[in-house]
């Protein structure tokens, strides 16, 4: 061993320590699309939309709801519900272990958070999918929480807003997951019959059993720009039809063009637009502009800290496209094509 080898390791240790102290953790984030490095408070100010390329970064469910709802008077619904492994499902890993890993990683019990709160003073119920929890897949607890939120909205006659981000039904709960599609759709139908507004906001990505149930049943279906939305995942379709998919296939703009969504709303306008739409649907008067203006979010130390949570999900994944694909693979509820299908 040369004298250099003896010195180098300790030197690198010193250097690493140095770097850590000189650049504080969590103040900079790289946009997964254009790779521009962003100063966190700046990103927060832009509602976690990249100021360079307008990419809407994914939000955790909790960050989504705390951004969407007024800061006063939030209350979580059915927070104590925990998933159960009814089938003792086991593939390369046990479902139970996958659940505890996801719970540890996201600090959530399952892939849906439901809250009662208000939007610019208007009471409502909002739910958001946690995509980091097994790809936002819908199992029994996700369905149950969604239904409880819907039933509460019905009982209190206040609107329901859902932010969907999910790969589909959760395979590890097999038919229990599939039936959540019917269960959530039935609960939403009650709202529809009673004239209680339901707005479904589609965020990147929404597929399979979630897309083919609660996410497409809004009085209004609204999408964030450039979100990937569909029934079958692009890879499955490509394998089935054996041709290249058209440019922009299954993006929000494609859905708008084909009549599946009412509008695409930029995140910076989302609160204001939804608020004004919900007021109209309920026959309520317009909110005065100056009142709304006072609600504008301010960049504080706390909000910067919160933003660190917000974008983490996107930053840990080095390659955003492949991350989407792999999660879609994992949770995708529709069929993998078979030999028979390829012939067709």
């Amino acid at each position: 061993m040369s004298w250099l080898d003896k010195i180098v390791p300790s030197m690198s240790r010193i250097q690493r320590k140095d770097r850590r102290t000189s650049i504080p953790d969590g103040l900079w984030r790289k946009c997964p699309k254009c790779e521009a490095v962003q100063y966190l408070p700046e990103l927060t100010k832009h509602d976690n939309v990249c100021p360079k390329c307008d990419h809407h970064l994914r939000l955790t469910a909790r960050a989504r709801l705390s951004w969407f709802l007024d800061s006063e008077g939030r209350e979580e619904i059915a927070a104590d519900l925990e998933p159960v492994d009814r089938l003792k499902f086991r593939d390369s890993k046990k479902y139970k272990d996958r659940l505890s890993a996801a719970q540890k990683q996201t600090e959530e019990k399952d892939a849906l958070i439901a809250m009662r709160g208000s939007l610019e003073g208007q009471p409502l119920i909002a739910v958001a999918f946690e995509f980091g929890f097994m790809g936002g897949s819908m199992g029994a607890i996700v369905g149950e929480k969604f239904v409880r939120a819907a039933e509460l909205a019905l009982a209190e006659n206040v609107p329901l807003v859902c932010f969907a981000a999910s790969g589909g039904a959760r395979m590890q709960e097999a038919l229990f997951s599939l039936m959540q599609m019917a269960k959530t759709a039935a609960a939403l139908e009650k709202l529809k019959q009673a004239g209680v507004p339901y707005i479904s906001v589609l965020t990147d990505p929404v597929f399979g059993g979630v897309s083919a149930s609660l996410a497409m049943l809004g009085d209004l279906n609204v999408a964030e720009p450039n979100a990937l939305i569909g029934f079958a995942g692009p890879r499955v379709i490509e394998q089935t039809v054996r041709e290249k998919l058209p440019e922009g296939f299954q993006r929000s703009e494609f859905l708008l063009e084909h009549g599946a969504v009412d509008m695409i709303i930029h995140r910076r306008d989302m609160r204001e637009r939804l608020s004004s739409i919900l007021l109209k649907l309920q026959g309520m008067p317009m909110v005065k502009v100056d009142e709304a203006a006072t609600e504008a979010p301010q960049v504080t130390e706390e909000s910067v800290a919160a933003a660190a949570d917000v974008v983490e999900g996107d930053v840990v994944k080095e390659e955003p496209r492949s991350a989407v694909e792999s999660v879609l693979d994992e949770t995708f509820s529709s069929e993998q094509p078979k030999g028979e299908r390829r012939d067709g």
Binding site: L175, L178, A186, V236, F332
Partner: protein, 317 residues
């Protein structure tokens, strides 16, 4: 290998071939082989019984997809009378992967809707292997709402690998078509009985499967994803389909244990395709009983019961 028999049935196929041979010889010669044929036939039955006594989930899913298995239109012929097929979704096209129309069960008018696979290559393509596109689900919805208006019970037959994953299907809103059916079926003011006769493939099956009573044929399956799909995602290999089938519990008997299935309908020895008429008769008996049970409920009670049933799926204890 005899293509009319699945791989695990090959010992039966060999025995049957021997019997067939003896029959041919028997016709030619003076020697009576009747006793021998009868003996072998008995042996074949015993063999079939022992093979079918303990089928794994993967073997059941192969049976559910058996190319000779009776499809919806076969049951329409064997089980119903006076069938008028109705076509088209009134918006875009008629999807032949999903058929429907009005018929009579005994004397009672009913709306029958079901997935339809094809027998020969040409028909398979025409029927898109039983994988409906949005227009199929929209046709189903139209027929179901019509049934409600004319106070006809709805009987659906489920047999699909899944909703079709294609470009056009996405463009025309496959997700919305399925979702819309789920919502509408939850409130239709007429009894709905669904029977899984083959493959119950995911959302594409459920889109005509929201019901007051769920029946499954003994060798049918119902699952959130095909065993191959599940295996290639979770095990990273479609070869592990048998393991996936087992883990997901997709067979009629397992789903009955889990409380999803109201009536498990026994199939003749060797599966429904060995005796389609017997199978049709068994289904008919179950459907008639079911309609009688549900007919006794008034509309409000029926809908409340359906809603409670839907809410009970996976509800915390």
């Amino acid at each position: 290998m005899n293509p009319n028999y699945l791989d695990f049935e090959q010992p039966i196929a060999e025995l049957q071939a021997k019997i067939e041979e003896l029959r041919l010889v028997g016709n030619d010669s003076q020697v009576s082989l009747a006793d021998e044929i009868e003996r072998l036939q008995g042996k074949s039955t015993k063999l079939t019984e022992s093979i079918f006594k303990d089928l794994g989930a993967w073997q059941v899913s192969q049976l559910a997809r058996h190319p000779q298995r009776p499809y919806t239109l076969d049951y329409l012929e064997n089980l119903f009378a006076d069938f008028d097929e109705l076509h088209g979704d009134r918006h875009y096209a008629d999807d032949e992967a999903l058929v429907g129309g009005i018929a009579r069960l005994d004397d009672k008018p009913v709306m029958v809707i079901g997935h339809q696979k094809g027998r020969d290559v040409k028909e398979k393509v025409r029927r898109n292997f039983g994988m409906p596109r949005p227009e199929g689900y929209r046709k189903a919805c139209r027929l179901m709402e019509m049934a409600e208006r004319f106070k006809m019970p709805i009987l659906t037959f489920i047999d699909t690998p899944g909703a079709y994953p294609g470009i056009g299907a996405e463009e025309r809103g496959q997700s919305e078509a399925i979702a819309y059916n789920l919502a509408v079926m939850s409130r239709l003011k007429t009894p709905i009985i669904s029977t899984v006769i083959g493959e119950g493939g995911s959302g594409g099956a459920l889109a005509i499967g929201v019901c007051d009573e769920l029946n499954m044929l003994q060798y049918s399956t119902y699952s959130v994803i095909s065993p191959e799909g599940c295996a290639s995602i979770l095990w990273k290999s479609a070869e592990r389909a048998a393991d996936a089938a087992d883990a997901m519990g997709i067979t009629a008997s397992r789903l009955k244990e889990l409380g999803f299935v109201d009536n498990l309908i026994k199939e003749p020895l060797g599966g429904a395709h060995r005796n389609p008429q017997t199978t049709a008769d068994s289904i008919k008996a179950v459907l008639s009983e079911g309609l009688e049970r549900l007919g006794a409920l008034d509309t409000e009670a029926l809908l409340e019961r359906r809603y409670k049933r839907l809410m009970s799926y996976g509800a915390p204890a």
